[in-house]
Point group: C2
Chain length 325, copies 2
Amino acid sequence: MTSRRKRLSVNEYVDGVLAGNTVVLSRTITLIESNLAGDQALAEQVLIRILPYTGNSKRIGITGVPGVGKSTFIEAMGLHLAEMDKKLAVLAVDPSSQRSGGSILGDKTRMEQLSHHRNAYIRPSATGASLGGVANKTRETMLLCEAAGYKIIFIETVGVGQSEVAVKGMVDFFLLLMLAGAGDELQGIKKGIMEMADAIAITKADTDNITASKKARAEYQNALHLFPPSETDWSPKVLTCSAVTRQGLDDIWKMIEEYFSHMGSGLDQLRKHQNINWMHETIGFLLKNNFYHKPEVAERIPEMEKQVGLGEITPQAAARELIRL
Amino acid sequence: MTSRRKRLSVNEYVDGVLAGNTVVLSRTITLIESNLAGDQALAEQVLIRILPYTGNSKRIGITGVPGVGKSTFIEAMGLHLAEMDKKLAVLAVDPSSQRSGGSILGDKTRMEQLSHHRNAYIRPSATGASLGGVANKTRETMLLCEAAGYKIIFIETVGVGQSEVAVKGMVDFFLLLMLAGAGDELQGIKKGIMEMADAIAITKADTDNITASKKARAEYQNALHLFPPSETDWSPKVLTCSAVTRQGLDDIWKMIEEYFSHMGSGLDQLRKHQNINWMHETIGFLLKNNFYHKPEVAERIPEMEKQVGLGEITPQAAARELIRL
């Protein structure tokens, strides 16, 4: 259908987004996610226009390994907030999902109640070949949602890769979901992610899991005290919750609000710092992207990786040789 | 003096390094650290020749904040090993030190005994404008030391920046030095470094600090159990030691040897993986380095950072604009 491909004017996109029109918002996000040069130029014009209306939200990253109950948590917490009349957008960074053809948020039935709530807007993960590209699109989508009036943005990742570093670089607060019971459930979480968290929520703290969850909470709280303090002087908190009984959800939200009070004007500083870092990261990403897509480079990479892996050439020499191409 | 600047032939460098001649080794490292194009071409020829003789060492990263007693620990542990007739080289990655004009290992008086031991070779941190460049030179220096017959390589960093990520990418084992007494001494350690460590050594466990050190050891050991396991299935250990009484040094070394037994042939896999990653990191570094040194880019960066910081332009748009230059 050609009508689906038809583009609006810059004014129509901007006015629709600023009016909080979710149909236009979705079309603008689709425009941003497009890889066509014409669309990208149009998207850039839209973004520059909506930029003055962005920033007025709490940006919250949420991560945890599959099985921890991320979607269930986001639905329960999202409903809790939506019912308090807070406008909430849920986005995702999940580059791995494209390979399997689906997105963590693509299956909306997992968040059926939330997706039908008038205060909630859910958008599946952008697709793309690389994390840098996907993360950039999620970040721009976040700005559009802010301009559309969403005061809380949840950005979900899967806790098993580099996505968390990208998400940490675009959010104000980073929440890690964990399950009680030491050991197995940690398999899959990448090193370094726990130290990044501003808070840990122990999920599924209900029925016969309550005692174990309380114990886990105390253990993690003790452990976090041993770890380096963050630059924002915020001590990471550990809380328990249940999506079924809704126990703990309100405490978690109050803790997040406490964080924003704690940050005060430091939040502007944090975001300024993030923006500048993001620019440099994007430069690196674009340079690498252009480089690896050159046919003469793409052709040589497998052979170079093999030689480097076998120790026939140093990684540095291989890199220099590829650059000389 | 022109004689100091005179270069040897490729054969002379290679033969000298392989013979374990420390004078030639030092001159070869100086060649590698040189930024002159002619020297770099020569260095590349030397490296390719010595490459078959590399890899036969235990590569150990050592980090900790200033004040933790890093130099003292390295001297005591180094002497312990040198006296067991093990050949040991001590290198450093410390890009920050160039700004203050000195290197963490520059002041050899801090390792006076070790630097005079015939089994030890100490080389100050390379100088350079960027971490990527310094780390590349340290990595190549490590290869030269291996070819010269050093069976243990210590690579020291300061624990406060990105250097640890670079060092983690070139060593087999990563040791974090900590002091007993929770809280203050953690100021300065960057988030994520503790989760990277294969072991923590609590230093200065002597005189009236013994009880506190034992307590800290138990606490950290408990905490590490809660954290994600590494891909190598090695559970990080926590030990105590004293450079003064030499208590614990032998246990730490035995633990490190246990790690290498545990790794078995997995070590080759780890290094292969590291080499390929290092190639891609170096590509990224070279691309960025070339880019940021272009005058038209260098000139625009401050203005762009300002605009991005003020939120007048998105980081993505700023990056794209700079790339278009």
